[in-house]
Point group: C2
Chain length 164, copies 2
């Protein structure tokens, strides 16, 4: 797997990853009907440092994931980063999220952040909760019923945190 | 005390409240050198419902506080609101924050929100922590060292939550 900064030429491949995640509405608090234009404007916003993960598949490279890194707050909160990760539907279970998380922690450290905070890890996304704990994140908060899951109803979301 | 929606004509009075809070850098994770223009653009952003609190002082009304109310997230998180409150320096201790909080909870309920979440209550702001607890908010998260206070160094921030 190779991870490199996103470029404007990645828009189509990024949208192929973002669209099913947004339409499913199970893991991010984003409008399920978000347009391609608004989704890409959000993911590629100027405040986001965006990377893409590429997997060599024969003689071509397929984009299997993407993440953003940004300051979670400004001013006295600017030393804590925030990241979001999305993995291509057909690439689940290949360690893509873990590789991107490792990469993002290195990037956060390089940029002088002291910690990374996830603001909204939905408890029904059990694979993510387990992975972030495996990656050294602690649950520092639990938001009761803060996410309305399309099939499970109101579920809790977690705030997770680790120093870098 | 009277609380009403903010209007564009309130800009000068709003800035007199915002400026000392932002310059002090002790209670909000905002850049201490934020310009008047950027501060007002943030506080009066289209996503914010903004109110101002007025106190009758002889034959004139003085603005003693302001708050915003917004959805804390979109999509499956859009049923939880977020608010921010600022009180004029010379109006501390008069119940302005409490009156605005009560007003904001009523507004949140009227708009169909199910809960209000404060994402970043700085622990050194003891008066605020006590007031929000008095107003029925629970501490649901603690962000270790997430705020760099200008004189106290790194202090924790709290996530607080209550149903409405």
């Amino acid at each position: 797997m190779r991870i490199r900064p996103a470029t404007p030429a990645d828009a189509d491949a990024l949208w192929r990853i973002l669209e099913p995640v947004i339409r499913a509405g199970e893991t991010y608090p984003l409008p399920r009907d978000l347009s391609r234009e608004d989704a890409l404007a959000y993911w590629l916003s100027p405040a986001h440092e965006v990377h893409v993960a590429l997997y060599e598949d024969g003689d071509r490279e397929a984009m299997v994931g993407t993440y953003y890194l940004k300051a979670n707050n400004a001013g006295g909160g600017a030393h804590v980063a925030n990241c979001g990760y999305m993995v291509a539907q057909d690439a689940a279970g290949r360690g893509v999220a873990q590789a991107m998380c490792t990469h993002s922690l290195t990037r956060a450290r390089a940029r002088g952040f002291r910690a990374v905070q996830f603001n909204f890890v939905i408890t029904s996304n059990e694979r993510a909760v387990r992975l972030w704990q495996h990656m050294g994140f602690s649950v520092v908060g639990r938001l009761p019923g803060a996410f309305e899951h399309p099939t499970k109803g109101y579920v809790d979301a977690l705030v997770m945190f680790r120093n870098v």
